[in-house]
Amino acid sequence: MSGAKSWLDRAWSGLLWGTMAVFVVNVAMLIATVATNSLAHRWLGTWLPDGWTLNWYLQAWKDYQLSDILWVTMEVVLAVVLLSLLIGVPAAYALARRDFPGKRALMLLFLLPLMVPPMTYGIPLATVLYKAQLAGTIWGVILANLIPAAPFVILVMTPFIEQIDPNLESAARVFGAGTARMFTSILVPLLAPGILAASLLVLVRTIALFELTFLTAGPDSQTLVVALYYAVFAAGVRAPQSIDAMAMIYMVVTLVWLLIALRFVNPTQLVSRVKEHPRAVA
């Protein structure tokens, strides 16, 4: 009886690990394919290319004006991170500390943009931005990217703020600190890890966010991911190796930030809100 059970158990375990291995190996090979192709002199249906070259990177850099695109991407991402923190952290504070009528409705308002497909609100938003003559400019791209970013900051920061002892704030108040002073001297230092985590998560997500940027960007305000889409979409004009070189540059940019983020954040936080810290056992 127990023998049969452990046999089943092992088979099940093997199946799960096997599935996982197939997935990881295929994704790794997929990335390796892009890397190999970007370095290949010529690669037509053989195991490995004829020769190796770095020329495709130079060509991609020139052809796609990558320096401009990288600069725009950096501007957009930095602006989105700063602005989403600026409006998100105070809102998270109000939501974490106060109970007020309409709080649930407000929470819903901040949750909705993460639950609705970006295309659904992206198209009306692009229409509005075109009317306001903001679409096609870098400001339009920044505003559009803020819509999922700001609620994300709020959702990540609220549990962080909840676990800070409110007595510290009361003490600061007793000593005559105003709200601004309390924020800069008490909350920001205590929240630094949370703020760092939130900003890195927003950064990584903004670099990869395609739809909203795609809908609102003009020729001068494309971020890297949109430029990459256009390059693949219009394939045939350019060598696939130079597109892959651009994809590699994109991946390296994301991975660098990701590795930095992983030093401060548990990977499971990249997709969900931060778990509330376990309460101390009384």
């Binding site: 990881v24 997929l30 600026l86 105070p90 198209i123 229409t127 819509i147 395609f210 991911v225």
Partner: protein, 291 residues
């Protein structure tokens, strides 16, 4: 939000609430307003009565089938992602070196983004890619594989980008469940399967419902991979593609808004069904306690 205060008010206005004002105003201006504007615009067609756009959507042969095309991709992709992620995450619920390693490895596909995955898949899964080379070594392999420029290409790309997301999300929910509960059950003789059925599954229900919804949104709004990897003229003409074409190729913002609204509506129906199913399960705290 009303920020006026008067000395006659029963309770003094709490100025802390003002901190939420910028974010609220921002969301109202850039999320609620465009949404309502789009709704209004969808009833203001270029020609015809106020329902002309919706009439057009449900009669045109290249529009209404996009709903099924999208669901045919998004539902299987979401079921695969959540269905595979759940048992694996359950296996890895105990903190270990492997857990940290696997989670780190799985973060990579999330950040690659759909465009890069599509680009890589075109070569790797292509008729002359490495996968085809490996499969040629197998004795029962016949004919070239066709995994790009069709339905399967899009489905695979949805699994590649969606599975890690579902896995990390479910793992974070599972590790949030107090292991004391399972330990208590195992003291009473419950096998891991029984623990899963009677303890983890009911407690996970809200998390699973949330995860299903979020994973579904991602798959449902599939756009770049449907164009790059699929057959955008036929089998993978998804609804977001139809909306995009209406807006930026025909410049019919009214029709595009109508499609966007229908897209949101279908999405909400699915979310409502999932949350309704979730309501059949236990509701309660996920931590053990003496209270």
């Amino acid at each position: 939000m009303n920020t006026r205060t008067s000395p006659l008010a029963r309770a003094p206005f709490d100025r802390t609430l003002l901190l939420a004002a910028p974010a609220t105003l921002f969301m109202v201006a850039l999320f609620i307003y465009p949404f309502l504007y789009g709704l209004w615009l969808s009833f203001e067609p270029a020609k015809g009565g106020w329902l002309a756009n919706y009439h057009k959507f449900f009669t045109a042969d290249n529009l209404w089938p996009t709903i099924w095309t999208t669901l045919r991709l998004a539902l299987p992709a979401t079921l695969i992602n959540v269905g595979i992620a759940l048992p694996i995450a359950f296996r890895m619920r105990v903190k270990s070196r492997y857990q940290r390693l696997i989670t780190t490895v799985l973060v990579v596909p999330i950040t690659l983004g759909t465009v890069l995955i599509a680009d890589g898949m075109l070569t790797y899964f292509g008729p002359k890619g490495w996968l085809a080379h490996v499969l040629e070594l197998l004795p029962f392999y016949e004919g070239p594989i066709r995994l790009t420029h069709n339905y399967w290409g899009v489905l695979i790309s949805l699994v590649i980008s969606g599975f890690p997301f579902a896995f990390l999300l479910i793992l974070s929910y599972i590790t949030g469940i107090d292991p004391v509960l399972a330990r208590a059950a195992s003291t009473l003789g419950a096998s891991p399967t029984a623990q899963f059925r009677h303890i983890y599954l009911p407690l996970l229900a809200p998390g699973l419902a949330m995860c299903f919804c979020l994973a579904f949104v991602q798959a449902y709004s599939v756009f770049p991979s449907a164009v790059l990897l699929g057959a955008p003229a036929g089998p993978t003409r998804v609804i977001s593609l139809a909306a995009y074409e209406a807006a930026f190729e025909q410049y019919d913002y009214s029709l595009a808004s109508a499609i966007a609204m229908i897209m949101g509506f279908v999405q909400l129906i699915i979310v409502a069904i999932v949350l309704g199913l979730r309501g059949l399960f236990y509701r309660g705290p996920v931590v053990g306690g003496k209270g």
